[in-house]
Symmetry: C2
């Protein structure tokens, strides 16, 4: 049976894929310059043998029941399996895993192959008071996957073997799909029908349909295809109370929409086993162009004008000046010809009065029939031109398309070099985008600079931003930040910065996340976001469907002192110090490899 | 203070508005012919003095608390007020009210003027175990408003004084609006900003924002503006547990979307006091054309093709042959010129081989700038032509536009004449539209014909259908049915037909309602629609937010024998017989008027 591969236990991507820094020779010099790094160090993760797992809790009654319907290869308690399922890929997760701290690991990993497996597992879990954490691709960066339970046995329910497209209605453009399917596998299956889901999040290679739905994910082409919650027509979720199942209808007035109780439930109510999704005929053509705007505000105005004119391409992604500079630094080395062409463009821009310190790159993807793409491109280019844009043509678009799933690798590359980096994203209305951007980037830079100490730390902040995912009333704002680590207080530094950015979102009328979920990472802000009565309502559903609290406990339910718990990680001074050595690139250490089945 | 007027206690529309049958001289002859009516009778509602209310339950502790913050004119217990708030406008409601059976009336009517009034009322209701039923315009036809409680005091919370647009963000196109505002009042206020909500349900004149949200309403132009749940950005709902409030953001990933717990909650969790809605610049131009298709299937194909081509006007409303015939019969008398023109059209259609028994009328509304309307109209007309359509021009569109809010009056007109009529609507995927239509119209005709007795009743069924509200994956199917009443078993007849149509929806993979809500009328099918675990989840939210069950009890929670309760109305042989007299039209009886404040 085909099973999607696991990611590295300590970082992003499959074991055999490593970020190729030689293909991006400008990146590290850029990072060094903007972050004030003087010394090249290398702090690789500990070897796998050094990873520390807690002793597994074994519930024999549960285990012997499992064996009644699951084969041996569906029940795994090896060290490797437990490590891979310990965490998602948030900064905290990677920081701990690189140091071999795998206390979040489950006691057991199960691979259900059908809904019946899931149903019986959940029933047995309820009967034996065993905790179940649904696991898709493990790409979550909000802390949705870590065990919070130390007393009860914890099972990671890895859904990747439930990967089939079960039925396609080509006339209505709907597809019934098992929830454990990964992005590429799903698109390959749909391609057989000439269809696409149109959902391409940054995590596309390493995330699943069920994970997308449970976290309200957004793909890069959401301007055309919508956020995942807009695509779900019906679903099935196995809960401790039984199977919740809805009908495949476009819209209804059947009381409270129970699809929306499952969407975004982050594994706390049950396991989504399948969903019927809106799908679309594959586009004949897709083309991404880069455009330069004089400043961020002009770019935002142009995006908004496209929305006003109801002329929205499938992706608009506007980088602020810092993120634009990073994009340029990230570009692969160019040919002599394109270097020369680039010089010509620069000269032209200077003549046009562009200030490179304020210039912003907007990536725009057009999709459709050949004629449709041409028409759309000319309409949108005309709007952009009215806001002073210069069309860079398809080359920066091609560069984006070829590397768009690589960005998460950069964090591992930087962590290797003693640099912390992370992201926070939100959404707000158009009128609030610029104020929110200014307030939050200012707060974030200040937080990195003072690092939670009184006075300046001497640590130079780098903060970049892009705006994407447009809607009638607003858009998403996505911040990336990085800084040199202060040896021995890396976690405090990180928490101080992360807290500043999230608090700024909430203080400035935005939401805690646009598409990364609540998890543990954003939990302290949930009450402000959805109000205490909103939290109470969510708790009520949880109490009703999972009275034994076996489904992913500790999520979506802030404690009375949420920040205490949240920042505990920073007050522990017990993180092992990683070895530092010279920067000479090394091949992947063999002991870092996980002998997992394909 | 401006307060929207109440509808008639026994029928649709304001007291002074009566259906003008003389403006539609073809309607009654058509109805007589298709329904096999031989005798013209008139069975008017009983005079208001004959209406029977149960003795009001008075909770003195609650009442004296109310008076602490409400003025006398906000607290009403008059016979008139109680009558007007007894029911919505479903068939059962009207059938009973016309006979003076007002047992569903509340004991008291309150008019809150701000959120504080609502909050204190709900708190007092919880403290004194008093039931609260939120009331918007009273236009609901699914039985959402009738009291189900006979032991506790029941209060109708009439929201119409909370009618202000509180804030408008013209840049982001959002408006914060109090929930009690009626359609025309809201549009008038938004017009001052050059904006529109774009929500125009058939009940537009007599329904409120809060009611739309609580029932997941759909407006005629939903193809352009979406269903009401697509427009809600944030809301505030006063619950027994406190105020649930969400943030004004376009999209979020903040766990379970609590907006969607309030949307569609049908008054069972709390009272929606305000919502922030997406709004739109008003269109420069709106134009409705009629088109004729050779048959229903061709019309459906044309609609679907518009969706496929992403070229959807703001309204497509396709009548089946019977509904088309009704539309023609409903038309106002035309001038000699248009009669002559109509002859020419008919001649042309005959030459083109149209069979009038199968011909279908599609009403299509184009909206936007002048140029945009022209472009859209030519694109859509071209698609329609490919499916054999003939453009009738704007005259049938004008006729529709001028009468579109009058349709509910026809039911009163028919009830006066001993005819039962009602509607049921649903939605399904494109591939299922025609099978569902065929199966359901067949089942419905058969149900009317046998009327729940063995063998034929001799009652001729009339069943018409239109399709509207298109989506990527499907559309809504709206059935209208009518039949001559069997004296003494009118309710049994009705229930038999209604049950047949709803059961057919559920048997054929559709939903219990696309935009009319569950109420009591569709409750028996809720468990089939959202699964037992879905019902359990809804009950859990209810239990969490309203443990005292004071908010609109008895809704969204099917009993173990739902049909028994549902059909009890039909097994009671206790309906008073209405007087019958000659058909000579009479002016409104003075005793039927309600002396309500403006």
């Amino acid at each position: 049976m085909y099973t999607a591969k696991h990611m590295k236990w300590w970082g992003w991507g499959n074991e055999e894929v490593r970020f190729n820094s030689r293909a991006h020779p400008g990146l590290w010099p850029y990072a060094k310059a903007v972050l004030g790094v003087e010394e090249d160090i290398d702090t690789p993760p500990v070897p796998i043998e050094a990873a520390r797992l807690r002793e597994a809790i074994r519930h024999d009654g549960f285990l012997s029941e499992l064996r009644l319907w699951m084969r041996a290869d569906q029940i795994c308690d090896s060290r490797c399996e437990r490590l891979v399922h310990a965490y998602g890929k948030g900064f905290r997760d990677l920081f701990r895993m690189r140091r071999g701290m795998a206390e979040g690991a489950p006691d057991l990993v199960l691979y259900p192959e059908n809904e019946h497996d899931v149903l019986r597992t959940i029933r047995a879990a309820v009967d034996h008071d065993v905790v179940v954490i649904p696991f898709g691709g493990g790409s979550n960066i909000a802390g949705c996957l870590e065990r919070t339970e130390t007393r009860r046995m914890v099972v990671s329910l890895d859904m990747r073997r439930m990967r089939r497209v079960l039925a396609v209605d080509t006339e209505s453009c709907t597809a019934r799909i098992e929830a454990g399917v990964f992005g590429p596998d799903l698109e390959e299956q749909l391609q057989g029908y000439g269809l696409t889901l149109g959902h391409f999040p940054d995590s596309f290679l390493h995330s699943t349909l069920g994970g997308w739905i449970a976290t309200r994910s957004a793909g890069m082409q959401s301007d055309k295809y919508g956020k995942v919650e807009d695509m779900v027509m019906a679903l099935r979720m196995v809960t401790p109370g039984g199977i919740l199942a809805t009908r495949i209808v476009p819209k209804s007035s059947n009381g409270i929409d129970v699809n929306h109780l499952c969407i975004g439930s982050e594994g706390t109510l049950g396991v989504i086993t399948e969903a019927t999704m809106q799908v679309h005929p594959r586009s004949q053509l897709r083309r991404t162009h880069g455009y330069l705007f004089r400043d961020f505000e002009a770019g935002i105005e142009a995006m908004h004008e496209c929305v006003r004119k109801e002329c929205v391409p499938s992706m608009m992604r506007l980088n602020d000046p810092d993120k634009t500079a990073l994009s340029m630094a990230f570009k692969s080395p160019s040919s002599r010809f394109s270097q020369a062409a680039s010089k010509v463009v620069k000269g032209y821009l200077r003549v046009k009065g562009f200030d490179f310190a304020r210039t912003c790159l907007m990536l725009t993807t057009f999709e459709g029939s050949k004629a449709g793409v041409s028409r759309q491109q000319s309409q949108i280019s005309a709007i952009y031109r009215r806001f002073g844009a210069v069309d860079l043509g398809p080359s920066s678009g091609k560069s984006f398309e070829s590397t768009k799933y690589d960005f998460p690798h950069i964090r591992d590359f930087l962590l290797d070099r003693g640099i912390t980096s992370d992201v926070s994203e939100t959404s707000t209305v158009w009128s609030n985008l610029v104020p929110l951007y200014q307030a939050t980037t200012t707060a974030l830079r200040a937080a990195i600079l003072n690092s939670g100490n009184d006075g300046e730390s001497g640590v130079k902040p780098w903060v970049g931003c892009h705006i994407s995912h447009t809607y009638h009333a607003g858009a998403s704002l996505y911040l990336t930040f990085a800084c040199r680590q202060q040896h021995g207080r890396e976690m405090q530094q990180y928490l101080h910065a992360k807290r500043a950015v999230q608090q700024s979102f909430i203080d400035h009328r935005a939401t805690l996340s646009h598409h990364h979920a609540v998890g543990t990472e954003h939990l302290p802000w949930l009450t402000d976001d959805i109000s205490p009565v909103g939290v109470m309502a969510v708790a009520a559903i949880k109490g009703g469907l999972d009275p034994g609290n076996v489904m992913n406990p500790g999520r979506l339910r802030p404690s009375t002192a949420p920040f205490e718990e949240w920042s505990r990680a920073g007050s522990e001074a017990t993180y092992p110090v990683l070895a530092q050595c010279s920067i000479t690139p090394k091949p992947t250490s063999a002991t870092n490899s996980l002998p997992l089945p394909d």
